[in-house]
Structures are given as C-alpha cells and as structure tokens.
C-alpha cells in the first residue's frame, strides 16, 4: 500500500460493462408505460408569440397532455429557472426571467415553447406538428457587444454585467512606464459540448413525492432546485442518475425540460420520459466559450512582465445559464496571470445577451479561456520581442511559494522551470522535423503553452462506507462519473487504504436518497474532494474496528495496513474479517459510516504543452503531427486514468482549435445544426500524445493530489494556436482566430500573399 505517493495504474473496471452494452443510461431506465415527451421549439431567434393553440394537438392520437406556459401558471407554479448573479461595483448582474416554456416571447432558435406527452414517441412528434404557433419577428441581436436590439427589459443594451477585478491604477501606471507593450485581440468562438449521450430524464410522482432520474453531473443541487420549484420539502424529491454518457459541464445544470417533464408527469398522473435528439441537443444544450478578449502585456526593458490587462465581451446567449455569469469573470480571473509573476493586472468583463442558446460551463470553464488569451499573447510577445518563447516564459515564472496573484488567489506550490525543462526535452528534435516537412512542401510549426488551472466546486465532500452482508463493501460518493472512470479510481483508492480486494468494493453514486449531500462533478474536483472524504471515512472505519477489537481482545490493537494486530494475540483479522466480527457482536454502527472531508484550500495543477502542426499551404489543411505534455498534478491516484483524462482533454482542445464552431447566421439560425456541419474531432485528427509528470505534491489535501480532469483542455488551446501561428510566420500572420479550418488558413495565406504583393 502506498497511501501518500502516487498510486498504481489499474485498468478501468467499468469498461467491459460499458463497452459491451451493459451500461444503463436514461433511455434504458424508463419504466414500462412511461409517456414520451417531445418539445415544440422556437423556429425563430427572436419574436413575440402572437398565438399558441394546442387544441388540435390535444386531440391527436395517443396524446395525454400538452403543456404550455399558460398551463404552468394554471397549475400554480411560477415556472422559471433562476441563475446565480455576479456581484459588481454597481450591483448584481441582470436577472431576466427564464421561463420553463416560452411565455410571451421566444429568444433563441430551439427555445422550448410547449411540451407534449403521448403514448409513443412517434405520437408525441406527430402531435407537436399539430400545435399552431404564430410569431411576430423582433429584431435579432447576434452581436457580442453591448448595444444590439434589446432582448430583455431587465438588461438595457443587452448588458448582463460589467465586472472587473485587479488594480486598474497600478496597471495603467505600469503600462505608461513600460519599455514594450504587446496587444492582441483574441476570439474564442461558440462551440458545443456534443456529449455522446444527449440530455434526457424520467420523471415520476408517487403520492406527493417526485423522482427525477436524469443524466447529469450531480443530484443534490437538482434536488434542491426541484423542491423549490414545486414547493416541496427536499426529502419529497429524490433525484437519481444512471450511467451518463459525457457531461463536460454542459450537464451540470438544470434545464427547462427537467421542470416541464416533472410537471407534465404530475398533471398526467403517469411517469414521463424524454431523450433529446441530436439536432435538438445542438439547439438547446448550453453552448460554450463564445468570447472575445482584448489583451495587453507591459514589459520592462529586460522583458519582465510589469502588467497584464484583459477586456472581454462574453456572449451569454439569450438567458443566464445557472452559473454563466461567473465563468469568463471570476473563474477566468482565478488564473488570469497564469504562472507568471506579474505585479499588476486588471480584468474587465462584460456579459452580453444574444439571441442564441445560453452559454455556460464547458470543460475548464473560464480557465482554458484565460490561459488561451494569456499564452497566445505571450507567444505573440516572444515573437514581437524577438526572444525564444521558452526563455520569455522562464524569465517571468513565479518561483517562490505560496504566491499571491494580483487577483487574490494563493498558489500553494509548483516548480515551473522543471516542468518547462521536461517539456522541452520531450519535444526535442523539432528543427530536423521541420526540415523534413519542408521537403514535402509542408510548413511545420511548434507551439508552446504553459498553463495553470484552479480546482473549483464545493470544497466539502462526503463518503459513506457500508460493509454489506456477503462480504462486499459499498462506497457511496457525492461526485458523479460521466465516463471518467471514477469507479476504478475510487475502488482502487479504498482498496489500498483498507487492504480490501478491488472486487469487493461497489461504488454507489447519484442517488439523493442514499447520502444526505454531495458536490457532484465539475471543476476537476472529484478526486481531490472525494478522495479526501473517502480517506476520512476509511480512517474512521479503521479507528472503529481498532477500538472494537481492542475491547474484545483486552489489549491495544492497530491496523498495520494489512491486518489488525493485537499484542499477545494470534488472531489478526483482515478488514472483512473484522467487519464480520463486528456484525456478529451486533456493532452495526461500525459497519455504516459517513464522513465529510473539507479541502482547506484549492490546488493548482499546471503543465506545459508543446504542439506541432503541419500545414499544407496549398490547401490550408492543418494536421497535428506531434503533441507532448508534461504536467504537475502532484500525486496521482491512478496514473493511467490521469493520462486518459489528459488525452481526452487535449483531443477536445484540438477539436476546438481545428474545427469546432457553432455558426449562426444574422437571423440567429444555427448553421451547424448537425454533425454534417459541426466538425467534431476524429481519431485521425489526434496524434499520439506523450505524457509525463514532474510532480510537486499539493500541501492542501492529505493526498497531495491536484486534479486533472480539465487540464488537457486548458493547455491545448494556446499550444495549438501558437503552433499554427508559428507555422504561418513566413507569411507574417500573427493572430489568426480559431478554428483553424483549411478554408480559414488558406484565406489567411492568400490574404498575406496579396498584402505582400500589394
């Protein structure tokens, strides 16, 4: 057993089940006889609802219920989803009403207008077509800047908030005194999470109690929200989660469909099920990123950073996502200045409503965006200043810890030069590869990005350990796997700490009835928070058994990592034997324990990514030819799972860099409403990714771990962009915006050629 170093790699034990059709997802879990839900969605981006008539729809075969906003009110419910509001100098951010079903107005294509429950899905879809919806167009605003046609009465100029952090005066003074100033405008297009399994849910009422089985990232928050919406005591709402096919933050929140489905099931008196179609998902899932930043760096004559300034316009879509106001503001600010020692910094962010689906968290939520802006600007600075990108970074690294950043975060530990050295060593030999590519008519570019990210979410987590009859042990967790491999990580972790066989441990997640609370999954928190709680529970188990056995034996008993040993006794029971003895003695209290763990502070994973891209100047095609990662995740519980998280994160970053883009036309119609136009990355787009670590254990949790779930994405965006701009350097192209599609790269080269010729 190795409790406090890195653990050992175990293969994912959930994979045989998930890969052979043994998974049980929302669509597999619906009770027989559940009604099927379908939604009428707005076909236009902004309009007044002139008429909404569901009489013909109600008369269609198999229809049990048609629900509109009017019916929600008639049932006595307010029928709106709230959102957290950011505090600004002039008060909280705007809180326009976001109805479950559109009331007098629709504000984006895909907004839910009405819901039908019918005996079959076919009938539900047929009935949707029988609804008469008449709309009168209103001017559409797709402008990610304040001042477009008004979308909400509550937000003048479509401004949701104007928030800032840092020291504007000190920053200004530093810029005035700077030897060099580097400025860049950096856009991050709107993208989609596009989880493999779209959103879905099953709602069922029993007496006055609601059960919602849904595919999300945690159950307790949803339980609270549903209880409030339906004016129930929380214990009257049970929220559960079956297997979930990908979340990425997109599934961390409630959506109108959850509430409408619950109300529909109640009014119909029958369980009701809903599974989003792919096109529906593309229209109605929370979108991601969608911001444009103007960044500036001030350097002294020795190329040391004096100040950093960012101004961002963040497209929020048509309504506040539940956590949206915090993403490009507070979460971005957590790592605003990255790994650099910057004396002064300032960030100003304006949140803007547009006539498109709401934008909320997506893998990294604010930190990839911040590191992208920072590291692209750093790359540009190296080029403008004529210095090596690695040297410029090294010169500006934070070297003493703890370090308090200009935005008030305290980085606990890190060794950035060592990570950088590792990455440079891992990615050596570039010049030879560049020459070989040139010989084939291709341009090779190399991009370096050094990122740091901050673990988010509830610092508190609980773990319940239950010794079950028959020799199994259930570990109840408050987090939620969406495919990450938690079952493997947690079972291995508990097995190591209690000296149990992996196979004896059962991981139980996603049921608000089984443990009182939990923080869910998000912000790379799961292993740090759940591991700390599980460790507390494991210790309590050991202490309980030690005391019990000591009493039984009449002498001091201690667990030696394998067995309980009592001085002068031949009996040395292992964990399961001790549990059986406790059970025989009627000590059930020792067999079912719940403990909470609290992280005293945040951890800050960091690392260096080096991407190499090969550009075909004749077609503009960008291919990622090599990718090297060196990370500092502190200790690792299961290094193989960690590496898998990095691979997935990098793949998502590459996808965003080379192809993903949710494009709308000026009328707010989504142009990329299927995978025929929305470019997801494919296996061939992602090269083998080399991965290594240079750990500095985190002092802020007993395990010394830092978290790894989002890190791959956080580092990948700027590494990719810097590689592309490096490859395009001969044409003088400095800030081409993502995604680097063949068309866009070719256009840039053509434009540069024309500029040179002209």
């Amino acid at each position: 057993m190795q409790a406090f170093g890195s653990g050992r790699s175990r293969r994912r034990r959930e994979d045989p089940r998930l890969l052979t059709g043994g998974g049980r997802f929302v669509d597999d879990a619906a009770p027989a006889g559940a009604l099927h839900a379908a939604f009428l969605r707005s076909p236009v981006a902004h309009a007044r609802i002139a008429a909404l008539d569901v009489r013909a729809c109600r008369a269609m075969p198999g229809v049990a219920l048609a629900l509109t906003a009017q019916d929600v009110r008639a049932a006595g419910f307010d029928g709106a989803i709230g959102a957290a509001r950011i505090a600004t100098a002039t008060g909280p951010g705007a809180a326009p009403r976001r109805p479950w079903l559109a009331e007098d107005r629709v504000r984006f294509v895909g907004e839910a207008v009405a819901m039908v429950l019918a005996e079959t899905l076919q009938q539900a879809h047929d009935a949707i077509e029988a609804i008469e919806l008449e709309t009168e167009d209103l001017p559409v605003s797709m402008l990610n800047a304040p001042g477009g046609p008004a979308i909400h009465d509550e937000a003048s100029g479509n401004l949701a908030f104007d928030w800032s952090i840092g020291d504007p005066d000190a920053t200004k003074a530093a810029f005035a005194a700077a030897a060099h100033v580097v400025e860049a405008e950096i856009a991050q297009p709107r993208i989609m999470a596009a989880s493999l399994e779209p959103r879905g849910a099953i709602a069922e009422w029993n007496g006055g109690a609601l059960r919602l089985d849904y595919n999300g990232q945690g159950v307790w928050g949803v339980q609270r929200k549903l209880a409030a919406a339906f004016r129930l005591q929380p214990e009257m709402v049970r929220v559960t989660t079956p297997d979930v096919g990908g979340g990425f933050g997109m599934k961390a929140f409630t959506y109108p469909e959850h509430y409408a489905l619950a109300l529909g099931a109640r009014l119909a008196g029958r369980p009701a099920r809903w599974m989003s179609g792919r096109g529906e998902a593309m229209l109605s899932d929370n979108g991601a990123r969608a911001l444009v930043s103007r960044a500036a760096m001030a350097f002294d004559a020795d190329h040391r950073l004096m100040a950093y300034r960012v101004e961002t316009d963040s497209d929020l879509g048509a309504y506040n996502g539940e956590n949206a106001q915090f993403i490009q503001s507070e979460l971005f600010a957590k790592v605003l200045t990255g790994v650099y020692d910057v004396p002064a910094a300032h960030l100003r962010v304006r949140g803007v409503y547009t006539n498109a689906a709401p934008v909320d968290a997506y893998r990294g939520a604010g930190r990839p965006e911040a590191q992208y802006v920072l590291e692209r600007t750093m790359g540009l600075a190296a080029r403008r200043l004529g210095v090596d990108p690695a040297d410029l970074r090294r010169r500006n690294f934070i070297r003493r810890f703890p370090h308090r950043t200009p935005t008030g975060e305290t980085y606990d530990v890190g060794d950035f030069p060592r990570v950088l050295d590792g990455a440079l060593a891992a990615s050596g030999g570039f010049e030879a590869r560049r020459a070989a590519a040139e010989a084939r008519g291709l341009r090779l570019g190399r991009g370096l990005a050094f990122y740091i990210e901050s673990i988010l979410g509830d610092p508190v987590e609980g773990a319940r350990v239950v010794f079950e009859e028959g020799g199994t042990v259930a570990l109840h967790v408050g987090t939620q796997s969406n495919g990450q491999g938690h079952e493997t990580a947690y079972a291995g972790f508990l097995a190591d700490h209690l000296a149990l066989p992996d196979g004896a441990i059962r991981i139980v997640q996603g049921d608000s009835a089984l443990i009182p609370k939990g923080g869910g999954t998000g912000g790379s928190r799961s292993m740090t928070a759940q591991g700390t709680a599980t460790l507390a529970a494991a210790r309590a188990v050991i202490e309980g058994f030690e005391a019990f056995l000591a009493e039984l034996e009449g002498a001091e008993t201690a667990f030696d990592g394998e067995r309980f040993r009592t001085a002068g006794s031949n009996r040395a029971p292992d964990m399961l034997e001790a549990a059986a003895m406790a059970r025989a003695a009627g000590r059930e209290d020792l067999l079912d324990l719940w403990r909470e763990g609290r992280l005293p502070a945040r951890s800050f994973p960091n690392g260096c990514h080096v991407a190499e891209v090969e550009i075909d100047p004749e077609t503009g095609l960008t291919r990622v030819s090599r990718y090297d990662v060196i990370d500092d995740f502190g200790n690792m519980v299961n290094p193989m799972l960690v590496e898998g998280q990095v691979h997935g994160g990098v793949a998502q970053g590459i996808g965003q860099a080379i192809g993903e883009f949710a494009a709308h036309d000026g009328d707010g119609q989504l142009l990329t409403a299927s995978f025929m136009d929305y470019a997801m990355p494919r296996a061939h787009d992602v090269p083998p990714i080399s991965f290594g670590t240079r750990p500095t254990p985190c002092p802020a949790n007993p395990l010394g771990i830092k978290g790894c779930g989002e890190a791959g994405t956080v580092g990948a965006l700027a590494a990719m962009a810097n590689a592309v701009t490096d490859a395009l350097a001969p044409w003088g192209i400095e800030t081409l915006q993502m995604p680097f599609t063949p068309q866009r790269v070719w256009n840039a080269i053509q434009g540069a050629g024309r500029a040179a010729a002209g």
């Binding site: 076919q122 879809h125 047929d126 179609g277 096109g279 075909d616 004749e618 077609t619 503009g620 095609l621 080379i658 192809g659 494009a663 142009l671 990329t672 995978f675 025929m676 136009d677 929305y678 470019a679 997801m680 494919r682 061939h684 599609t741 063949p742 068309q743 070719w746 256009n747």
Partner: protein
C-alpha cells in the same frame, strides 16, 4: 421520423412491382434514413433493396468491371482492388466504416449529392449506369445537383466501368461531414484522359474539359494550370474561390497519385 411500412423483396422483379406505386427504394439508408429521421420525407412505404442477390457483387470481365447496384462501398472497395485501384481507393474513403458497410453504389448514384464520391468515379471513368429499364452513359446520367436521368421508381441495378491504364482519386474532406469538399477523379485511357470533379460546382459533378485536354497531351501534374469556370458552391466550409482553387490542386494530386500507382490520397489521412 414519420411511420412507414417496409417491404423486403428478394428479386428485382418483385422490387420493381413494389416500386410501381408511391413507394421509395431504400439502399443502404445512409442518406435516406437521416432524412426520414428529420421528418424531411414521408415516403409511406420503403422497398429495401439489400436482400436482392442479383444486385450485389463485383465482377471483372474483358469489357471491364460490373458492380451490382446494391453493392456496399466496402464490398466494392475490396472487389475493385486489382481491377481499378483508383476506384477502389475512392470507395474505401467514403465516410466511415459504418457508412461503407451499409451505403451502396446504387444509392449514391441515384442520390447524386453534389459532394458525393461515386459520381466522380462514374463520370471520370465514363461508366455505364444499368437500370431495370435501360442503360445510361454517365455523361448523360448526371444532370445537376441531386438530379439524374432516372425516372421515378427506376432502379440502378448495376454500374459498368471500363478499365483505365491508370486512375486515381484525390479528396479534400469537408472537416465535419468528411464528404469531399472538393475531390477529383482522374483516369487515363489510350484515347485520352478524363477528369471529373465533385464537391465544387453548383451544377453537381462535372468534367473539367480544359484539364482533360492538357492531360491528354501530357499526363503530368504541371500541365494543370488554370481553374475551372462556372458557378461554384459557397458555404460555411469553403468559398467559391477556395473550391475553384482546390479543383486544380486535387486534380494535380490525383495525376501524381495515378503516376505513382497509389490509387489516391485523402486529407483525412492514409
């Protein structure tokens, strides 16, 4: 999807009889099923052609190669390997394995998507499209985007290809769908060179005559200099100028591949 009935004939004669009414043919369903799922079509009855043995398989003879209209892309790729490597390459690069294992040559030609691969192969080789009623030369078959010489209910039962001295396919993929953004099929025959371009023109697949003339005189990439004229498709993934430019690039690369005997190349990797 609207409700529909499905018929599964096992002979061409039965299929023909079933298609006489309002019914629609179902090949591999790789185009039709997604259309139905989006409720963009409501055919009432589908007549599934995949159980008709006489419409399947690849046969080589002295006059060339014949491919049954119900042959999947994957089966065609395998069966064409030795006879026409360029065409085998084309078939092997359509979509992904799931698409290739279901989608058929007959369905692809009947559909005549302006960005489809088979139309470029058929036109580039001067194939003959055989239906349950007649034979149609490829030059007469394709009549613009999604428009062919087929009558309602007419079934593509086979496609006959002459064997060229050399041929190759060069495909620049549209990053999302992986259909051709622009692709060129080049074939050299003793009496001249044919060049067919897909993905580019608003009129669908077309022969680029200027390039054919130059290549017939000198089959080498450098002679492909100009760009084709006519209205080009412009969309999210490529402007008209970009597509026009790619026509020449893809043609040159196809010629090079034909000279190297590699069958072709794709921007989606090997």
């Amino acid at each position: 999807m609207y409700a529909f009935d499905i018929e599964r004939p096992t002979s061409l004669a039965d299929a023909k009889a079933l298609l006489a009414g309002e019914a629609q043919a179902l090949g591999g369903g790789q185009t039709l099923i997604p259309t139905l799922k989006q409720r963009l079509a409501d055919p009432g009855t589908l007549v599934c052609l995949s159980g008709i043995a006489e419409m399947k398989g690849v046969t080589s003879g002295p006059d060339g190669v014949a491919i049954g209209g119900g042959t999947t892309h994957a089966e065609a790729a395998e069966g064409l390997k030795d006879a026409i490597p360029g065409l085998a390459y084309l078939a092997s690069r359509i979509g992904d394995p799931a698409v290739r294992n279901r989608g058929t040559i007959g369905g692809s030609l009947a559909n005549d998507d302006p960005s489809a691969c088979w139309p470029a192969g058929a036109l580039g080789l001067g194939a003959t499209i055989v239906t349950d009623a007649r034979e149609i030369a490829a030059d007469d078959f394709f009549q613009g985007m999604f428009t062919t010489a087929l009558e309602d209910g007419e079934i593509v039962t086979a496609v006959r290809f002459p064997v060229p001295e050399a041929s190759a396919y060069s495909k620049m993929i549209q990053p999302a769908s992986r259909f051709p953004l622009v692709a060129a099929f080049v074939a050299r025959f003793p009496d001249g060179v044919r060049v067919a371009i897909t993905g580019a023109s608003e009129d669908g697949v077309f022969r680029w005559r200027e390039a054919e003339g130059a290549l017939s005189a000198d089959f080498s990439p450098e002679v492909v200099t100009g760009q084709p004229e006519g209205p080009m498709i412009a969309d999210l993934h490529g402007t008209a100028d970009y597509r026009r430019h790619l026509c020449a690039v893809m043609t040159r690369r196809a010629v090079r591949a034909a000279l190297d005997g590699t069958g072709g190349l794709s921007s989606a990797g090997a």
